[in-house]
C-alpha cells in the first residue's frame, strides 16, 4: 500500500473487524453443528454400544458410557463444556477409536493439503486456459462450445469421473499403480478428478469476468492504441478479470473439502475426507463435529484472507481511515476501471 499513517490504521481496523466477524461466524457454525448432531433423534450411547458389537448394553454399561462422555449432563452444559474445549483446541474424544479428535484430524490434514494444492493448481491452469481460449476465440460457434464445457464438468458425479480415471489410466493403460503410489503418481489422479468440478467454477467465473472486461473503456483505449489481441487479453483483461476469483475463494475451499470426501474415498487416501466418511459411517459424533467446525474455520479464514487481500490488489476497494479521505479517492476512481493502467491513457479518456 502506498498510503501510510491513517491508511495503515484504517487497514488494521478493517482487519480487526473482519477477524471478529469471522470468529462470530465460526461460533455460529459450531452452534449449528451442535444443534444438528445433539438435538436430533439418535442416541450416541446406543450407537457406541452398537459399534462395540453389543446389541443392547446393560443399564449399568449405558450409564457408565454416558458419564464417561459427559452425556449425562444437561444439553446446555454439554454445549458450554464443548465450546470451552474448542477454544482450548480440544475437540473431544472419538467414540469409535477412543483417540482425541484433534490428533486424528492433525494426522489426516497433510494428505488433504497435498490433494488440495495439486487440485487448485490443475483447476486454475485448466479453468484459466479454457476461459482464456473461449474468450479469445473469434468464432462464435467455438466460443459457445468452449463456454458450455464448464457446465458439463460440473454435472459429472465426482465418484464417477474418479472411477473412470482409475479404470482407464491405472487398469487399462497401466500408467500409474492404482493404489499405494506415493508422491506425484499417487496424487495426480485424485487431484485431476477433484479439479474437474473446481476448474469448472473457475472457468465459468473467469469467462464471465473476461467478457465484461472486453467491454470496458480502458480495453477499447488500448485496442485503439494498437495493442495485439493476445497481449490485451493476457496483460490487461486478465488481471482485472482474475479479481472475482478472489471473492469466490471461500466457495472454492468449501467445494474442495466437500469433494475431498468423495475423492479420498474413491482413491482410499487417508485424509480429512476419508476420516469424515468413516466417522459418519460409524456415527462418531465428536469426529464429525470436529471436521465440520474445521471446515467452517477454513471457509472463514479463506474469506478473511480474500477480504484482506482485496484492497491490496484492487485500489478501488481500499478502506480509508477518515470519511473525508474516503470521499476523494472514491470519486476519482469512479471513472477508472483498472488500477494498473498508465496515467497517460487515463488522461486521454473523455
Amino acid at each position: 500500500m502506498s498510503a501510510r499513517g491513517t491508511g495503515a490504521r484504517g487497514a488494521a481496523l478493517f482487519a480487526l473487524r473482519r477477524g471478529l466477524h469471522g470468529l462470530v461466524v465460526l461460533w455460529a457454525a459450531y452452534t449449528l453443528s451442535f444443534l444438528i448432531l445433539s438435538a436430533l433423534p439418535g442416541d450416541p450411547v446406543t450407537i457406541m454400544l452398537g459399534a462395540a458389537g453389543q446389541a443392547a448394553g446393560t443399564p449399568e454399561q449405558v450409564a457408565a458410557l454416558r458419564a464417561e462422555h459427559g452425556l449425562d449432563r444437561p444439553l446446555a452444559l454439554q454445549y458450554l463444556v464443548q465450546l470451552g474445549g474448542i477454544v482450548r483446541g480440544d475437540l473431544g474424544t472419538s467414540y469409535t477409536s477412543g483417540q482425541p479428535v484433534a490428533s486424528l484430524i492433525a494426522a489426516a490434514v497433510p494428505t488433504t493439503v497435498e490433494l488440495a494444492v495439486w487440485t487448485l493448481l490443475f483447476a486454475l491452469l485448466g479453468g484459466g486456459a479454457l476461459a482464456l481460449t473461449a474468450s479469445a476465440s473469434r468464432s462464435p460457434r467455438l466460443r459457445g462450445l468452449l463456454a458450455a464445457l464448464p457446465g458439463l464438468g460440473a454435472s459429472l458425479p465426482t465418484f464417477f469421473t474418479g472411477l473412470v480415471l482409475l479404470q482407464v489410466v491405472a487398469f487399462r493403460l497401466r500408467l500409474i499403480p492404482a493404489l499405494g503410489a506415493h508422491g506425484f503418481a499417487g496424487v495426480v489422479l485424485p487431484a485431476l478428478t477433484l479439479a474437474l468440478p473446481i476448474g469448472a467454477i473457475v472457468a465459468q467465473v473467469l469467462f464471465r469476468a473476461l467478457e465484461s472486461a472486453w467491454d470496458q473503456q480502458f480495453i477499447t483505449t488500448y485496442r485503439a492504441a494498437g495493442l495485439s489481441r493476445p497481449r490485451l487479453l493476457l496483460a490487461h483483461a486478465l488481471p482485472v478479470a482474475a479479481l472475482p476469483l478472489l471473492s469466490i475463494a471461500g466457495v472454492l475451499a468449501g467445494q474442495l473439502l466437500g469433494g475431498a470426501v468423495v475423492v479420498e474415498t474413491v482413491f482410499t487416501r487417508n485424509g480429512l475426507g476419508r476420516l469424515a466418511q468413516t466417522a459418519v459411517a460409524n456415527q462418531d459424533i465428536p469426529t464429525v463435529q470436529g471436521i465440520v467446525v474445521l471446515c467452517a474455520a477454513v471457509f472463514v479464514l479463506v474469506n478473511l484472507a480474500a477480504d484482506l487481500l482485496y484492497p491490496l490488489v484492487d485500489a478501488r476497494t481500499r478502506p480509508a481511515a477518515d470519511p473525508r479521505a474516503r470521499r476523494t479517492p472514491l470519486r476519482r476512481s469512479r471513472g477508472r476501471t483498472a488500477p494498473q493502467q498508465p496515467a497517460v491513457l487515463q488522461e486521454a479518456r473523455p
Binding site: V25, A28, A29, L32, S33, I36, L37, S38, L40, P41, G42, G151, L152, A154, S155, L156, P157, T158, F159, F160, L163, V164, L166, Q167, F171, A178, G250, G254, Q255, L257, G258, G259, V261, V262, T265, V266, A276, Q277, A279, V280, A281, Q283, D284, I285, V288, Q289, I291, V292, C295, A296, F299, V300
Partner: protein, 328 residues
C-alpha cells in the same frame, strides 16, 4: 416480458390486473388508472395467478428447442418412465441373479452386463431409477418447503426473527454442503429418507435466501399495499398476493437444485449411507461395482453414466429455464 401481452382475455391481463385482483373494490382500482372493464372482467375471472399467460401462448413464446434441449428432455422422459414403470423397460427381477451368467460383459443378452451374482445391471439400473429420482425429488421438495417458508417468514416478520433466520442461513452456507449433509446423516441414521433430508438441509439455505429477497421485493409493491389497505390479513396477503409472484425465481432455483441434489444423493449413497443394500439405487450400484473395477468396468461405468446423463440433462434444462426468465 409480460408488459407486451395484448389483453384478449381477462385472465391474460398482464401488469395492471394484480392490482385489480388485489383490490376488490372497483373504485379504488379505477383511481389507480385501471380501466373499469378490466376490473369487471377480472371480478368474474379466477383470482389466481393473474400474471400468467394461457398455456398455449406461453408455449409459443418459447424459442425453438435446440438439439441439446431435445436430447436432455428425451433423457429425462426416459429416466422418468424408468422410475414410473420399471417393469415395462426391464421385465426381469433386479434382485434375482443367475450364478451361471455372472460378470458377463455388456452384450445383446445383457445390455449393461451382469454383476458378481449374475444380476442384470440394466434391470437394476432401471429399477433403481424410482428410488434415486424419488429421493432426489423428496430432497428438493423438502428444501423448497422449509427454505421458502423460512425465507418468507423472515421477510414478513422482520426484526429479530428475520435476522435470526437469515444469519442461520449465512452460517449454514459457510459449511460445505456435503459435510452439512453428512452431519445430518450422522444424527438421523442411514436410509433414503435420512439422505433426502440431509440433502434438503444443504440446499434449503439457497431457497430461504431467494424467497426472502423475492418476498421483500413484492411486499413493497402497490398491489400488495392495496390489499393491506383493503383489510386483507397479513398471512392471507402473503399467501395470496406475494407468494404467487415470488414463485417464479424460486421454481427456477428448484430446477437448478434438482441437478445438484441428484449428485448429492448419489454421492451420499456411494459413500455408504444407503441402508438396505439389496435394493438397487444408482449411487449404490456404482459403489458395489468398485470391487470389480479392474475386471468388470461396466458395473461402475454404466450406472454412473445414468447418473451423469440425468444430472447433465437437468442442469441443461435448468439453465435454459434460467435464461428464459432473464431475457437479455
Amino acid at each position: 416480458m409480460s408488459t407486451t401481452a395484448p389483453s384478449t382475455a381477462g385472465s391474460s391481463q398482464a401488469v395492471p390486473s394484480p392490482a385489480a385482483t388485489a383490490s376488490p373494490a372497483p373504485a379504488s382500482a379505477a383511481a389507480d388508472g385501471i380501466p373499469a372493464a378490466a376490473v369487471a372482467a377480472d371480478a368474474h375471472g379466477s383470482h389466481t395467478a393473474p400474471a400468467r399467460l394461457p398455456p398455449a401462448r406461453w408455449l409459443s413464446r418459447l424459442p425453438r428447442p435446440s438439439a441439446g434441449t431435445l436430447l436432455a428432455a428425451t433423457v429425462l422422459v426416459l429416466a422418468l418412465s424408468w422410475a414410473l414403470a420399471p417393469s415395462a423397460f426391464a421385465p426381469g427381477n433386479p434382485l434375482l441373479g443367475q450364478p451361471r451368467e455372472r460378470l458377463q460383459a455388456p452384450g445383446l443378452a445383457h445390455w449393461f452386463g451382469t454383476d458378481h451374482l449374475g444380476r442384470d445391471v440394466y434391470t437394476r439400473t432401471v429399477h433403481g431409477a424410482a428410488v434415486s429420482l424419488g429421493t432426489t425429488a423428496l430432497a428438493v421438495l423438502a428444501a423448497f418447503d422449509i427454505g421458502s417458508a423460512a425465507g418468507a417468514t423472515a421477510a414478513t416478520a422482520g426484526g429479530v426473527a428475520e435476522s435470526l433466520i437469515m444469519r442461520t442461513v449465512d452460517v449454514a452456507q459457510s459449511i460445505p454442503g456435503l459435510l452439512l449433509s453428512m452431519a445430518v446423516v450422522t444424527a438421523l441414521g442411514f436410509g433414503p429418507v435420512a439422505i433426502a433430508l440431509a440433502v434438503a438441509a444443504s440446499s434449503a439455505p439457497a431457497f430461504a435466501r431467494i424467497a426472502h429477497g423475492e418476498v421483500l421485493r413484492w411486499r413493497s409493491s402497490l398491489f400488495v399495499e392495496a390489499a393491506r389497505l383493503n383489510g386483507v390479513g397479513a398471512v392471507r396477503t402473503v399467501v395470496r398476493h406475494v407468494l404467487p409472484h415470488a414463485a417464479g425465481p424460486v421454481l427456477a432455483l428448484a430446477a437448478v437444485e434438482f441437478g445438484t441434489a441428484i449428485l448429492a444423493v448419489s454421492a451420499l449413497s456411494f459413500l455408504g449411507y444407503w441402508a438396505p443394500p439389496p435394493q438397487p439405487e444408482w449411487g449404490l450400484l456404482v459403489s458395489e461395482g468398485r470391487d470389480y473395477l479392474a475386471s468388470a468396468w461396466w458395473l461402475t461405468a454404466l450406472p454412473g453414466l445414468a447418473i451423469a446423463a440425468v444430472a447433465l440433462s437437468v442442469n441443461h434444462l435448468a439453465r435454459r429455464i434460467g435464461a428464459q426468465r432473464r431475457p437479455a
